[in-house]
Protein backbone atom coordinates (compact mmCIF):
# COMPACT_ATOMS: atom_id res chain seq x y z
CA UNK A 1 0.00 0.00 0.00
CA UNK A 2 1.25 3.46 -0.87
CA UNK A 3 2.19 5.82 1.89
CA UNK A 4 0.73 9.32 2.07
CA UNK A 5 1.94 11.81 -0.55
CA UNK A 6 4.23 14.56 0.72
CA UNK A 7 1.80 17.45 0.08
CA UNK A 8 -0.95 16.07 2.29
CA UNK A 9 1.69 15.35 4.91
CA UNK A 10 2.73 19.00 4.97
CA UNK A 11 -0.87 20.19 5.00
CA UNK A 12 -1.81 17.98 7.94
CA UNK A 13 1.33 18.97 9.84
CA UNK A 14 0.53 22.65 9.31
CA UNK A 15 -3.08 22.13 10.27
CA UNK A 16 -2.19 20.26 13.45
CA UNK A 17 0.43 22.87 14.35
CA UNK A 18 -1.97 25.76 13.87
CA UNK A 19 -4.66 23.99 15.88
CA UNK A 20 -2.20 23.43 18.71
CA UNK A 21 -1.22 27.12 18.62
CA UNK A 22 -4.88 28.13 18.71
CA UNK A 23 -5.48 25.91 21.77
CA UNK A 24 -2.45 27.39 23.54
CA UNK A 25 -3.66 30.90 22.73
CA UNK A 26 -7.07 30.14 24.22
CA UNK A 27 -5.47 28.83 27.42
CA UNK A 28 -3.12 31.81 27.70
CA UNK A 29 -6.01 34.23 27.26
CA UNK A 30 -7.93 32.37 29.95
CA UNK A 31 -10.77 31.39 27.63
CA UNK A 32 -10.16 27.66 27.91
CA UNK A 33 -9.50 25.86 31.15
CA UNK A 34 -6.48 23.56 31.22
CA UNK A 35 -8.50 20.51 32.19
CA UNK A 36 -10.53 20.73 29.00
CA UNK A 37 -7.50 21.48 26.87
CA UNK A 38 -5.73 18.21 27.69
CA UNK A 39 -7.95 16.21 25.37
CA UNK A 40 -7.38 18.66 22.52
CA UNK A 41 -3.64 18.72 23.00
CA UNK A 42 -3.61 14.91 22.97
CA UNK A 43 -5.60 14.86 19.72
CA UNK A 44 -3.16 17.27 18.12
CA UNK A 45 -0.18 15.23 19.25
CA UNK A 46 -1.71 12.12 17.70
CA UNK A 47 -2.31 14.02 14.45
CA UNK A 48 1.29 15.23 14.37
CA UNK A 49 2.63 11.75 15.09
CA UNK A 50 0.75 10.29 12.15
CA UNK A 51 1.71 13.17 9.86
CA UNK A 52 5.36 12.49 10.53
CA UNK A 53 5.22 8.71 10.72
CA UNK A 54 3.78 8.17 7.28
CA UNK A 55 3.37 4.42 7.31
CA UNK A 56 2.04 4.36 10.84
CA UNK A 57 -1.61 4.31 9.98
CA UNK A 58 -1.21 1.50 7.47
CA UNK A 59 0.86 -0.55 9.87
CA UNK A 60 -1.56 -0.18 12.75
CA UNK A 61 -4.49 -0.97 10.47
CA UNK A 62 -2.80 -4.12 9.25
CA UNK A 63 -1.98 -5.10 12.82
CA UNK A 64 -5.62 -4.63 13.90
CA UNK A 65 -6.95 -6.33 10.79
CA UNK A 66 -8.59 -3.21 9.38
CA UNK A 67 -8.54 -3.45 5.57
CA UNK A 68 -9.14 0.18 4.75
CA UNK A 69 -6.81 2.33 6.91
CA UNK A 70 -8.81 5.62 6.76
CA UNK A 71 -11.80 3.90 8.39
CA UNK A 72 -9.62 3.44 11.45
CA UNK A 73 -9.30 7.24 11.64
CA UNK A 74 -13.07 7.64 11.50
CA UNK A 75 -13.64 4.98 14.12
CA UNK A 76 -11.13 6.52 16.52
CA UNK A 77 -12.35 10.07 15.86
CA UNK A 78 -16.03 9.26 16.35
CA UNK A 79 -15.27 7.33 19.51
CA UNK A 80 -13.24 10.22 20.92
CA UNK A 81 -15.93 12.75 20.00
CA UNK A 82 -18.69 10.74 21.68
CA UNK A 83 -16.67 10.33 24.87
CA UNK A 84 -15.91 14.02 24.93
CA UNK A 85 -19.55 14.97 24.34
CA UNK A 86 -20.65 12.81 27.27
CA UNK A 87 -17.99 14.47 29.36
CA UNK A 88 -19.32 17.90 28.37
CA UNK A 89 -22.87 16.86 29.29
CA UNK A 90 -21.63 15.82 32.70
CA UNK A 91 -19.87 19.14 33.17
CA UNK A 92 -23.01 20.93 31.99
CA UNK A 93 -25.21 19.08 34.47
CA UNK A 94 -22.84 19.91 37.28
CA UNK A 95 -22.84 23.58 36.30
CA UNK A 96 -26.63 23.65 36.15
CA UNK A 97 -26.80 22.22 39.65
CA UNK A 98 -24.31 24.77 40.94
CA UNK A 99 -26.21 27.61 39.28
CA UNK A 100 -29.43 26.43 40.89
CA UNK A 101 -27.83 26.42 44.35
CA UNK A 102 -26.28 29.84 43.76
CA UNK A 103 -29.55 31.30 42.50
CA UNK A 104 -31.31 30.05 45.63
CA UNK A 105 -28.65 31.53 47.90
CA UNK A 106 -28.85 34.86 46.07
CA UNK A 107 -32.62 34.83 46.51
CA UNK A 108 -32.24 34.25 50.28
CA UNK A 109 -29.75 37.10 50.57
CA UNK A 110 -31.97 39.41 48.55
CA UNK A 111 -34.89 38.46 50.76
CA UNK A 112 -33.06 39.89 53.76
CA UNK A 113 -32.56 43.30 52.19
CA UNK A 114 -35.04 46.00 53.32
CA UNK A 115 -36.82 46.44 49.98
CA UNK A 116 -37.76 42.76 49.98
CA UNK A 117 -39.67 42.94 53.24
CA UNK A 118 -43.47 43.17 53.06
CA UNK A 119 -44.70 46.78 52.92
CA UNK A 120 -45.09 48.48 56.29
CA UNK A 121 -48.77 49.14 55.65
CA UNK A 122 -49.47 45.41 55.47
CA UNK A 123 -49.50 43.51 58.73
CA UNK A 124 -46.16 41.92 59.40
CA UNK A 125 -45.75 38.15 59.50
CA UNK A 126 -46.09 36.62 62.92
CA UNK A 127 -42.41 36.10 63.41
CA UNK A 128 -39.45 37.39 61.48
CA UNK A 129 -37.55 34.42 60.13
CA UNK A 130 -34.08 33.98 61.51
CA UNK A 131 -31.53 32.36 59.27
CA UNK A 132 -29.74 29.49 60.92
CA UNK A 133 -26.63 27.92 59.55
CA UNK A 134 -27.39 24.62 57.91
Amino acid sequence: MESLPITIQIVSLLGAGLFMLYIFRLIVKGRLREEYSIVWILCTVILIVFSVWRDGLTKISLFLGVFYPPSLIFLAAIFAIIIFLVHLSVVNSKLQNQIKNLAQEVAYLKQQTPQHQPPASASLPIQEPVLTAS
Binding site: I99, K100, A103, Q104, V106, A107, Y108, K110, Q111, Q115, H116, Q117, P118, P119, A122, S123, P125, I126, Q127, P129, V130, L131, T132, S134
Partner: protein
Protein backbone atom coordinates in the same frame (compact mmCIF):
# COMPACT_ATOMS: atom_id res chain seq x y z
CA UNK B 1 -51.03 22.14 69.89
CA UNK B 2 -51.96 22.24 66.22
CA UNK B 3 -52.19 26.01 66.12
CA UNK B 4 -48.68 26.40 67.49
CA UNK B 5 -47.03 24.78 64.47
CA UNK B 6 -45.21 27.26 62.27
CA UNK B 7 -46.45 26.96 58.71
CA UNK B 8 -44.96 28.37 55.53
CA UNK B 9 -47.18 28.47 52.46
CA UNK B 10 -44.95 28.55 49.39
CA UNK B 11 -46.50 29.99 46.24
CA UNK B 12 -44.33 29.65 43.13
CA UNK B 13 -45.08 32.36 40.56
CA UNK B 14 -44.12 32.60 36.95
CA UNK B 15 -46.01 35.38 35.19
CA UNK B 16 -48.94 35.36 37.60
CA UNK B 17 -49.54 39.11 37.90
CA UNK B 18 -53.31 38.68 37.49
CA UNK B 19 -53.98 35.92 39.97
CA UNK B 20 -51.30 36.23 42.63
CA UNK B 21 -52.82 39.06 44.66
CA UNK B 22 -56.06 37.11 45.05
CA UNK B 23 -54.20 33.93 46.05
CA UNK B 24 -52.20 35.70 48.77
CA UNK B 25 -55.27 37.55 50.06
CA UNK B 26 -57.19 34.25 50.25
CA UNK B 27 -54.44 32.57 52.26
CA UNK B 28 -54.24 35.51 54.66
CA UNK B 29 -58.03 35.43 55.11
CA UNK B 30 -57.95 31.71 55.95
CA UNK B 31 -55.02 32.36 58.29
CA UNK B 32 -57.00 34.82 60.43
CA UNK B 33 -60.21 32.83 60.12
CA UNK B 34 -58.67 29.60 61.45
CA UNK B 35 -56.03 31.29 63.64
CA UNK B 36 -53.26 29.43 61.91
CA UNK B 37 -49.63 30.37 62.37
CA UNK B 38 -49.01 30.94 58.65
CA UNK B 39 -46.42 32.93 56.74
CA UNK B 40 -46.85 33.23 52.99
CA UNK B 41 -43.72 33.01 50.86
CA UNK B 42 -44.09 33.80 47.17
CA UNK B 43 -41.25 32.75 44.90
CA UNK B 44 -40.86 34.82 41.76
CA UNK B 45 -39.19 32.56 39.20
CA UNK B 46 -37.90 35.33 36.93
CA UNK B 47 -41.30 36.40 35.67
CA UNK B 48 -41.27 38.52 32.55
CA UNK B 49 -44.39 40.45 33.49
CA UNK B 50 -45.14 42.64 36.51
CA UNK B 51 -45.35 39.80 39.03
CA UNK B 52 -42.43 41.13 41.08
CA UNK B 53 -43.93 44.63 41.35
CA UNK B 54 -47.23 43.10 42.46
CA UNK B 55 -45.48 40.89 45.03
CA UNK B 56 -43.79 43.92 46.57
CA UNK B 57 -47.17 45.41 47.45
CA UNK B 58 -48.56 42.22 49.02
CA UNK B 59 -48.63 41.11 52.61
CA UNK B 60 -46.22 38.23 52.18
CA UNK B 61 -42.55 37.31 52.19
CA UNK B 62 -41.08 36.89 48.77
CA UNK B 63 -38.03 35.39 47.13
CA UNK B 64 -36.86 36.78 43.82
CA UNK B 65 -34.83 34.21 41.90
CA UNK B 66 -32.11 35.79 39.76
CA UNK B 67 -32.41 33.13 37.03
CA UNK B 68 -35.36 31.01 35.98
CA UNK B 69 -35.12 27.66 37.76
CA UNK B 70 -38.42 26.10 36.74
CA UNK B 71 -41.11 24.93 39.12
CA UNK B 72 -38.92 22.34 40.87
CA UNK B 73 -36.08 24.74 41.59
CA UNK B 74 -38.50 27.46 42.66
CA UNK B 75 -40.33 25.09 45.01
CA UNK B 76 -37.08 23.81 46.46
CA UNK B 77 -36.08 27.41 47.20
CA UNK B 78 -39.24 27.68 49.27
CA UNK B 79 -38.72 24.35 51.02
CA UNK B 80 -35.09 25.15 51.84
CA UNK B 81 -36.22 28.50 53.18
CA UNK B 82 -38.77 26.75 55.39
CA UNK B 83 -36.22 24.21 56.57
CA UNK B 84 -33.55 26.78 57.43
CA UNK B 85 -35.95 29.13 59.15
CA UNK B 86 -37.36 26.50 61.43
CA UNK B 87 -40.85 26.09 60.01
CA UNK B 88 -42.64 22.91 61.06
CA UNK B 89 -44.77 22.61 57.96
CA UNK B 90 -44.48 23.82 54.37
CA UNK B 91 -47.38 23.88 51.94
CA UNK B 92 -47.18 24.23 48.20
CA UNK B 93 -49.97 26.21 46.54
CA UNK B 94 -50.02 27.24 42.90
CA UNK B 95 -49.91 30.91 42.09
CA UNK B 96 -52.69 30.72 39.52
CA UNK B 97 -55.55 30.23 41.96
CA UNK B 98 -56.23 26.55 41.18
CA UNK B 99 -55.85 25.62 44.82
CA UNK B 100 -58.48 27.26 47.01
CA UNK B 101 -57.07 28.50 50.31
CA UNK B 102 -60.24 27.30 52.05
CA UNK B 103 -58.95 23.74 51.64
CA UNK B 104 -55.77 24.53 53.61
CA UNK B 105 -57.09 23.24 56.96
CA UNK B 106 -57.99 19.90 55.33
CA UNK B 107 -54.48 19.54 53.95
CA UNK B 108 -52.89 20.50 57.27
CA UNK B 109 -55.04 18.32 59.53
CA UNK B 110 -53.16 14.99 58.99
CA UNK B 111 -49.88 16.79 59.76
CA UNK B 112 -51.28 18.36 62.93
CA UNK B 113 -52.38 14.92 64.07
CA UNK B 114 -49.04 13.44 63.02
CA UNK B 115 -50.75 10.86 60.83
CA UNK B 116 -48.66 11.61 57.76
CA UNK B 117 -45.41 13.22 56.64
CA UNK B 118 -46.71 14.26 53.24
CA UNK B 119 -50.27 15.30 52.50
CA UNK B 120 -51.43 15.58 48.90
CA UNK B 121 -54.61 17.35 47.94
CA UNK B 122 -56.38 15.12 45.46
CA UNK B 123 -59.02 15.99 42.86
CA UNK B 124 -59.99 12.40 42.29
CA UNK B 125 -60.97 10.99 45.65
CA UNK B 126 -64.27 12.79 45.41
CA UNK B 127 -65.41 13.65 41.95
CA UNK B 128 -66.18 17.28 42.49
CA UNK B 129 -64.71 20.53 41.33
CA UNK B 130 -62.38 21.01 38.40
CA UNK B 131 -61.37 17.58 37.07
CA UNK B 132 -58.77 18.50 34.45
CA UNK B 133 -58.90 17.49 30.78
CA UNK B 134 -59.33 13.91 29.52
CA UNK B 135 -55.84 13.69 28.02
CA UNK B 136 -54.31 14.86 31.22
CA UNK B 137 -56.20 12.27 33.21
CA UNK B 138 -54.80 9.53 30.99
CA UNK B 139 -51.35 10.77 31.95
CA UNK B 140 -52.27 10.91 35.61
CA UNK B 141 -53.51 7.30 35.49
CA UNK B 142 -50.23 6.28 33.95
CA UNK B 143 -48.24 7.93 36.76
CA UNK B 144 -50.46 6.27 39.34
CA UNK B 145 -49.62 2.91 37.79
CA UNK B 146 -45.89 3.78 37.65
CA UNK B 147 -45.78 4.82 41.30
CA UNK B 148 -47.72 1.78 42.35
CA UNK B 149 -45.27 -0.46 40.51
CA UNK B 150 -42.21 1.22 42.00
CA UNK B 151 -43.12 1.96 45.60
CA UNK B 152 -46.30 -0.03 46.16
CA UNK B 153 -48.26 2.99 47.33
CA UNK B 154 -51.24 4.27 45.42
CA UNK B 155 -51.42 8.01 44.97
CA UNK B 156 -54.43 8.92 42.89
CA UNK B 157 -53.45 12.47 42.01
CA UNK B 158 -49.71 12.26 41.60
CA UNK B 159 -49.45 15.47 39.59
CA UNK B 160 -51.28 17.53 42.18
CA UNK B 161 -49.21 20.51 43.25
CA UNK B 162 -51.31 21.12 46.37
CA UNK B 163 -49.17 19.48 49.05
CA UNK B 164 -48.07 19.87 52.63
CA UNK B 165 -44.84 18.54 54.13
CA UNK B 166 -43.76 18.19 57.73
CA UNK B 167 -40.22 18.83 58.92
CA UNK B 168 -39.08 15.27 58.29
CA UNK B 169 -40.05 15.65 54.64
CA UNK B 170 -38.49 19.11 54.46
CA UNK B 171 -35.17 17.60 55.49
CA UNK B 172 -35.47 15.24 52.51
CA UNK B 173 -36.37 17.89 49.93
CA UNK B 174 -33.75 20.23 51.37
CA UNK B 175 -31.17 17.74 50.09
CA UNK B 176 -32.74 16.95 46.74
CA UNK B 177 -35.84 17.95 44.84
CA UNK B 178 -36.47 17.23 41.14
CA UNK B 179 -36.03 20.24 38.87
CA UNK B 180 -38.56 19.93 36.13
CA UNK B 181 -42.12 18.65 36.61
CA UNK B 182 -41.24 17.49 40.14
CA UNK B 183 -44.59 16.23 41.44
CA UNK B 184 -44.78 12.58 40.27
CA UNK B 185 -41.04 12.09 40.74
CA UNK B 186 -41.16 13.42 44.29
CA UNK B 187 -43.76 10.79 45.22
CA UNK B 188 -41.31 7.99 44.39
CA UNK B 189 -38.62 9.87 46.29
CA UNK B 190 -40.88 10.13 49.35
CA UNK B 191 -41.94 6.49 49.12
CA UNK B 192 -38.33 5.33 49.09
CA UNK B 193 -37.54 7.58 52.05
CA UNK B 194 -40.28 5.79 53.96
CA UNK B 195 -42.34 8.92 54.40
CA UNK B 196 -46.00 8.42 55.20
CA UNK B 197 -48.11 9.84 52.39
CA UNK B 198 -51.75 10.65 52.71
CA UNK B 199 -54.19 11.94 50.13
CA UNK B 200 -57.08 14.11 51.13
CA UNK B 201 -59.93 15.08 48.83
CA UNK B 202 -59.92 18.74 47.87
CA UNK B 203 -61.80 20.74 45.32
CA UNK B 204 -59.74 22.54 42.75
CA UNK B 205 -60.69 25.32 40.41
CA UNK B 206 -59.65 26.01 36.87
CA UNK B 207 -56.81 28.48 36.74
CA UNK B 208 -57.78 32.07 37.43
CA UNK B 209 -55.15 33.61 35.19
CA UNK B 210 -51.89 32.87 33.38
CA UNK B 211 -51.20 29.86 31.17
CA UNK B 212 -50.42 26.26 32.05
CA UNK B 213 -46.76 25.33 31.90
CA UNK B 214 -47.75 22.21 29.95
CA UNK B 215 -49.21 22.56 26.47
CA UNK B 216 -50.03 19.76 24.03
CA UNK B 217 -46.70 19.79 22.26
CA UNK B 218 -44.88 19.45 25.55
CA UNK B 219 -47.04 16.61 26.80
CA UNK B 220 -44.95 13.88 25.19
CA UNK B 221 -41.76 15.40 26.54
CA UNK B 222 -43.42 15.67 29.93
CA UNK B 223 -44.33 11.97 30.00
CA UNK B 224 -40.87 10.95 28.89
CA UNK B 225 -39.03 13.25 31.26
CA UNK B 226 -41.13 12.26 34.25
CA UNK B 227 -40.86 8.55 33.46
CA UNK B 228 -37.09 8.79 33.16
CA UNK B 229 -36.81 10.98 36.23
CA UNK B 230 -38.97 8.62 38.24
CA UNK B 231 -37.04 5.53 37.20
CA UNK B 232 -33.69 7.12 37.92
CA UNK B 233 -34.77 8.52 41.28
CA UNK B 234 -35.91 4.99 42.08
CA UNK B 235 -32.60 3.43 41.05
CA UNK B 236 -30.55 6.07 42.85
CA UNK B 237 -32.51 5.83 46.10
CA UNK B 238 -32.48 2.06 45.98
CA UNK B 239 -28.73 2.18 45.56
CA UNK B 240 -28.35 4.54 48.51
CA UNK B 241 -30.55 2.36 50.69
CA UNK B 242 -28.62 -0.75 49.74
CA UNK B 243 -25.37 0.98 50.69
CA UNK B 244 -26.79 2.13 54.00
CA UNK B 245 -28.01 -1.30 55.01
CA UNK B 246 -24.89 -3.08 53.76
Amino acid sequence: MAASLKILVVVPCFNEEEAIAGVVADINRVKTQHRLHIDVLTVNDCSTDNTLAVLRTLDCLHLDLPVNLGIGGAMQSGYKFAYRNGYDVAVQMDGDGQHPADELPKILQPLFENQADVVIGSRFLEKSGFQSSAMRRVGINYFRWLNQALIGQTIYDSTSGFRAFNRKTLAVVNRYYPDEYPEPEAIVQFGLNNLRMREVPVEMRDRQGGVSSINTSRAVYYMLKVTLGTLFVYLRMRGQRARLTA
